[in-house]
C-alpha cells in the first residue's frame, strides 16, 4: 500500500449502514472516495434451489422467508406466478386483502428505512420516535395476518384469513394516528437544517443513468423516472384503486427520502380506499392448491425497494422445475458505485441508507461444475 496513492478501507461486512452483512471496499484519496466495490456472499441460503426440492405449497413459505421485511411482496409475487401458470382465478375480496397487506408492509418498511436514515445522520431521537410509531402498523399486521413480521398471508388462489368490521375500524384509527405522526416527520425531513445539509446534493443520480443501469423503485422515482409496477402492470387490486406515482426531480439522497415519505401517505390513502371498498365474497379456495399444470410464468410486483420479479417453471406435478427470483436491491446495490462518485467517506452510510438495501434479498451464488471440480462463485466475482 505504501506506493499507492489510495488508502483502502473496508466498510462492513458487519452492518455498514443497515444491520445486514455487506462489504464495501473503498479506496480513498484523503476524504474523497476514488473507487468503491461491493462484495456480497455473506448471507446466502440457496432458497431458489430449495424451492425446486419442495412442493408448490411449501414454497409459499420459503418465498416469504427470502426476506423478513419484504415477506408479503415475495409471497404475493410467487402466488401470482403460480396463478398465472395454473390459470387460477382470485376472488376480488382476496385481491383487496392482498393490497391491504402489501401497503401495510410498505408503510412499515419505509418507516424503518427513514428511521435508519435518521440514526445514520446522528439523529437518534428521530430513530427512536419513528420506531415507536412504526409499532402500531406492526400490531395491525399481527391482527390481520397473525404475525408482526412473517405474515404468511398470501396463498396461491387467495389469502388465508378474513377481516371483520372490528379490524377495519382498528385499521382506520391506527392510520389516522400514523398519518398525523408522519406529517410531523415530513416537516422534520423537509425543514431541519442538519438533515437537509447532510442529504441534499449527496449521492446524485441523473435520469439517463437510471434508465441506462436499470435502477428501480424509489431510487428511480427520485430521479424523475415514473416507474411503478402497481401502475404499469397492475396486480392484486391496484388496477381498481386510484393512486399517484410519486416522483421527484432532484435525484439525491434527500429526494429519495422524501419519495419514501410521500409514498407512506399514498399507501395510507390506498389503505383507506381498500377498506372502504372491500367487496364481499370468498377469500380463496377451501383446499390448498398443490398441483399446477405444466407451463411457465413471469410475475412482477412493486416491492418497497422496487420491482420484484419471479420466474416460475412448472413441468406438471407438485414441484416447480425452477424458481428464479430477481430482487430490486440486487440491481440497486450492484450499480451503487455510481452514486459514490466524488463523495466523501463520511457520506457513505447516508448514501447507502438512501438506497434502502435489503441484503438478504440479493445474495446470489453460482455453482460451477467443471472437470469433476465444484466451484462456487458469488455474482459479484463473475461480474468483475
Amino acid at each position: 500500500m505504501s506506493n499507492s496513492k489510495y488508502l483502502e478501507i473496508p466498510v462492513g461486512p458487519q452492518h455498514p449502514a443497515l444491520h445486514e452483512p455487506l462489504l464495501f471496499k473503498v479506496k480513498v484519496e484523503g476524504e474523497r472516495i476514488a473507487e468503491i466495490t461491493p462484495f456480497t456472499g455473506y448471507n446466502h441460503r440457496g432458497i431458489e434451489k430449495l424451492c425446486e426440492n419442495n412442493t408448490f405449497l411449501k414454497d409459499v413459505y420459503l418465498a416469504g422467508r427470502v426476506c423478513g421485511i419484504c415477506n408479503v411482496v415475495h409471497t404475493t409475487c410467487y402466488s401470482e406466478g403460480v396463478e398465472r401458470i395454473g390459470n387460477i382465478e382470485v376472488p376480488s375480496r382476496a385481491r383487496y386483502l392482498r393490497t391491504l397487506l402489501n401497503e401495510l408492509e410498505r408503510i412499515h418498511s419505509h418507516m424503518l428505512a427513514l428511521a435508519v436514515m435518521g440514526e445514520l445522520i446522528g439523529f437518534h431521537t428521530l430513530f427512536m420516535l419513528m420506531m415507536r410509531d412504526r409499532e402500531p402498523i406492526l400490531a395491525l399486521k399481527e391482527s390481520v395476518a397473525g404475525n408482526r413480521v412473517q405474515a404468511d398471508y398470501v396463498m396461491p388462489g387467495g389469502v388465508r384469513k378474513d377481516i371483520d368490521s372490528e379490524k377495519i375500524e382498528k385499521i382506520k384509527k391506527t392510520l389516522e394516528h400514523v398519518e398525523e405522526r408522519m406529517r410531523y416527520y415530513e416537516k422534520v425531513f423537509k425543514e431541519d437544517s442538519i438533515i437537509t445539509k447532510r442529504l441534499s446534493k449527496v449521492g446524485k443520480l441523473d435520469r439517463p443513468e437510471v434508465s441506462k443501469y436499470g435502477f428501480v423503485g424509489p431510487i428511480a422515482r427520485a430521479s424523475g423516472v415514473k416507474t411503478d409496477v402497481r401502475y404499469e402492470d397492475p396486480y392484486a387490486a391496484y388496477g381498481e384503486i386510484p393512486f399517484n406515482v410519486i416522483t421527484r426531480e432532484e435525484g439525491d439522497s434527500w429526494a429519495r427520502t422524501l419519495v419514501r415519505i410521500s409514498e407512506v401517505f399514498e399507501a395510507i390513502n390506498i389503505l383507506r380506499y381498500t377498506v372502504d371498498h372491500l367487496p364481499d365474497g370468498p377469500i380463496g379456495p377451501k383446499v390448498p392448491i398443490r398441483k399446477v399444470q405444466a407451463g411457465e410464468a413471469i410475475s412482477r410486483v412493486e416491492a418497497q425497494r422496487g420491482q420484484l420479479v419471479y420466474y416460475i417453471v412448472s413441468k406438471g406435478g407438485d414441484k416447480p422445475y425452477r424458481v428464479k427470483i430477481r430482487t430490486p436491491s440486487f440491481n440497486n446495490i450492484m450499480n451503487s458505485p455510481l452514486l459514490f462518485r466524488d463523495a466523501n467517506i463520511g457520506d457513505l452510510p447516508v448514501i447507502l441508507a438512501s438506497l434502502d438495501p435489503c441484503i438478504s434479498c440479493m445474495e446470489r451464488l453460482v455453482v460451477i461444475q467443471k472437470d469433476g471440480l465444484i466451484e462456487t462463485k458469488t455474482v459479484m466475482s463473475l461480474a468483475r
Partner: protein
C-alpha cells in the same frame, strides 16, 4: 422555549413506549399465531399435517395404547405458519397465542401430547 417546556412536562408523566419484558408481559393479540396444540381425540391419523409441513417439524408416532399414528410437533423446527392447522380436515389443532416457548433443553421443545397429559395427571 414554551414548546420545549410543555414537551418535557408531557414526557415526564407519559408511560414509556417500551415494556420491561420478563416482568411486564407484551400481550400477544388473540390473532397471533402461537403454539398449536393437538386434540388427540379428533385426530384421524391422516398424516396431512406431516406431509405439508414446510419445516418438516411434524413427525408421526404410534400411540402405544391403540397403535394409531398421531403427530408430534418439534417446536424447535416449527416456523408457526399454521399450515397444519389450515390443512387439517377435522380441525384437530387448537390454536393459541402462546409464544414463550424458549427452553434450555432441545427435548423440551418437542411437544408430545401423550407425554404432556401423562405428566400433568
Amino acid at each position: 422555549m414554551l414548546k420545549l417546556f410543555t414537551e418535557i412536562m408531557k414526557n415526564l408523566f407519559k408511560r414509556p413506549a417500551t415494556y420491561e419484558f420478563p416482568r411486564e408481559d407484551r400481550l400477544a393479540q388473540s390473532d397471533y399465531r402461537g403454539m398449536q396444540i393437538l386434540d388427540l381425540e379428533k385426530c384421524t391419523s391422516c398424516k396431512l399435517c406431516a406431509i405439508d409441513c414446510p419445516a418438516y417439524a411434524i413427525e408421526m408416532k404410534a400411540n402405544p395404547a391403540n397403535n394409531k399414528l398421531y403427530p408430534v410437533t418439534d417446536f424447535g423446527k416449527c416456523v408457526f405458519c399454521y399450515q397444519c392447522v389450515r390443512v387439517c380436515p377435522v380441525k384437530a389443532y387448537v390454536t393459541s397465542n402462546i409464544y414463550k416457548l424458549a427452553s434450555f433443553e432441545k427435548e423440551a421443545l418437542i411437544k408430545d401430547v401423550l407425554k404432556a397429559t401423562s405428566s400433568e395427571s
